[in-house]
């Protein structure tokens, strides 16, 4: 399990735990099945020329039950366990909305860059317009300055977050499909053109986490990376105020 990057999210441990169980069960089943194949071959080599063994005879029906039906029932049980355990996790992460007090952050994918927008004091994202998009002039999201809600919006290329507070991400893309992937937060969701995605999570451990693109999006796909920086609440507030006054 130490292959996974360190977990920084509140519910990441539950996922790691479940994934760990799944992987070990599946790994040992894999070993057992391969061992059976090897044993069958070795058995034959040792007894080469020997008499036929293990015939289908009178007890064929009993053998069939023990070697087919019972293991198959065990597998069905395993699959049901997998479904039930993982569904509770999925339901908690995806089927419930974010709490009302969640910090709002909008994530926008653009070939080959992630942008992060905070709605500012008014709590409302300003309007954006496609024809206003202009990265060279400092307006990569096409913020419409005539919208009163736009004035206090903060746009960043680093995703700053306070530790311990729930976050609701509004996920968008300007051009093609991008995959918002934060391995350290066990978080992944595609940004689909024409749709707005929603993700909810709680960063717990302060530190830097890498943000990747997980859906091939063009020649720069591999370098479409950004940083998530989880800091204390005080540090986050100071950063946000500084960014707002810098506008």
């Amino acid at each position: 399990m130490n292959w996974l990057p360190p977990d920084g999210a509140l519910r990441g441990i539950a996922l790691d735990h479940l994934l760990g169980w799944n992987l070990s069960i599946v790994f040992w089943l894999f070993v057992a099945a391969q061992a059976l194949l090897v044993v069958a071959l070795v058995r034959r080599w040792i007894r080469s020329g020997g008499a036929a063994s293990g015939d289908v005879g009178d007890h064929a029906r009993g053998r069939y039950f023990f070697f087919h039906v019972l293991p198959l029932l065990a597998f069905v049980g395993l699959y049901v366990w997998m479904l039930v355990t993982s569904h509770s996790l999925w339901a908690a992460r995806r089927e419930m909305g974010a709490p009302a007090r969640a910090l709002q952050v909008e994530v926008t994918g653009v070939q080959f860059q992630w942008y992060f927008r905070y709605p500012g004091r008014d709590g409302v994202y300003g309007a954006t317009k496609p024809n206003l998009v202009s990265a060279p002039t400092g307006n990569p999201l096409g913020l419409d300055a005539s919208d009163p809600h736009a004035g206090d919006d903060v746009v960043s290329s680093v995703m700053m977050l306070p530790a311990g507070q729930p976050v609701e991400i509004t996920l968008r893309t300007q051009d093609v499909i991008h995959g918002f992937f934060v391995p350290g937060m066990r978080l992944k969701q595609d940004a689909i053109p024409g749709m707005t995605g929603h993700l909810e999570f709680t960063p717990e451990t302060p530190g830097d986490y890498v943000i990747l693109c997980s859906q091939v999006c063009g020649l720069g796909h591999y370098r479409m990376q950004a940083r998530m920086r989880v800091v204390s609440e005080a540090q986050f507030d100071a950063w946000l105020v500084a960014r707002e006054s810098a506008r």
Partner: protein, 553 residues
Amino acid sequence: MTRRIFTTEPKALARLYLWLGLVAVITGTVLSLLMRIHRTWPELAMPLHGVIKPEDYLALVTMHGTLMVFFVLTVVPQSAFPNLVLPAQIGAEGMALPRLNAAAFWVTAASLLVLLAAFFVPEGAPIAGWTSYPPLSALAAAGPGQATGMDLWLVAITVFCVAAVLGSASILATILTRRAPGLTFRRLPLTVWSWLVSSGLTVIAFSALFLAATMLLSDRHLGTSFFLPAGLVLNGIPQAAGSGSPMLWLHLFWFFGHPEVYIVVLPGMGLASSVLANFTRRPVPGYTLMVVSTLLIGVLGLCVWGHHIFVSGMNPYAGTAFGLTTMAIAIPSSAEVLTWLAMMFRGRLQINTPLLFVLGFVSFFIAGGLTGPILAQPALDAYLHNTFFVVGHFHLVMSMAGVFSIFAGIYYWYPLLTGRRMNEVLGQIHFWVSLIAAYGTFYPMYLSGLAGEPRHYAQLAGPVESFAKLIPVERGITWSAFLLAAVQLVFLFNVFWSARAKVAESGANPWRATTLEWSGEEHPMISVGPYNYGPAAGPTGDFRPQWETEKPF
């Protein structure tokens, strides 16, 4: 000469399909080796090309996937093998709809030429991956290769869909109408059941892909917007307003894409059962269960496509539903695997190359299949989706299992083509080295996937320090891939050398098998099932072929 080329004779068509598959598999393998070289030595200049650029890498990925999935893993088990053995196996004179069946080959060949042409147009081959998600695949300005290259890819796929449906229609008609007298459905070999189901899936799935590819071509050139929403901005330039959604492509594509993996492996599953019965000299236990499993895999295979898009904007409740159907399809698959494992311990195992490759098929089917139920859980897939964990999963369960079943089929049915068996020593060398090298290539991908390495990354560069520990893994994969590719030369040598080798002809039924493709002649009314092996099976020896008349007593 024209008659020789434009033949409707199934065996001749099988040869043509095998040649086509060979061209595709060699090209696809070279492309994958170039990918491995780039990932391991990014600065290395290639002869005639120079350094591989990131867009070149994506073009290699796209063309590798397309060639392998369509022109190798679909064409060989689903077109070459049925033409080679299906008519004989059901006692038919030839395929039903013979001209349609022959046309399918030429349409497939045309499709391959169009696809390969993408390498030679300005900007080269497309970079959107074999799934070609729009808008990347819909907008020519979205990247190099997305103009003419992407058009050629779409035309090739559209044409391939036509060929696949034509060929499958012929297979379906053959199985349904051309069976020998007395060959009831309960007496069909499991390979025939597999082709029945995989051909049904082909007709349904490739129709969906045909539709999707046509719609995408129309979005690109006729101004429609099936897959393009309003408000797109590409490179800072607002795009024409549309009213569609890429989600439509995702659903249509995977409605094709998931049945496609069963189209690839079902023939191998049928062959595994037949070969195991043949070389353990025992019948297939639970024949009815195997048939029902095959049918269930076919039906459920049409209901699981959503597990490819758990985290792609699909409703989370739909994710739960698709998780359930995907778990359900694991049950008939497990039933088949348990049957194969149990078969290994019955009777007297005869170890030879076809059997070993079937064991390899079973081994990979387990190695890749077992991670299926993990990926079927939306919560876990949300971490593993589009990482190398998935790449490892499908390369084991579809590609390696598929390729090993192709090898098993070639070693097993080779006497039908040449009247000789392939060399056994070379065959076993080919098997053992391939097995080890394939595990060395694809099993470590599970680990890099767990570490979070995404697919389609030309390099592991940037702020991703956590991937530094993967560099040795990457290098190991590359060397393993080289070994895997190199040992296929032994196979190629064996194929061509054994045909001319000065060895005794193998006779009509070299494996002492029971199914009709080995009868070698006209046969009377069929009165028995396909797997009559065992000490009490026949009056002479331990088997009773389907073509033998009533027991002489």
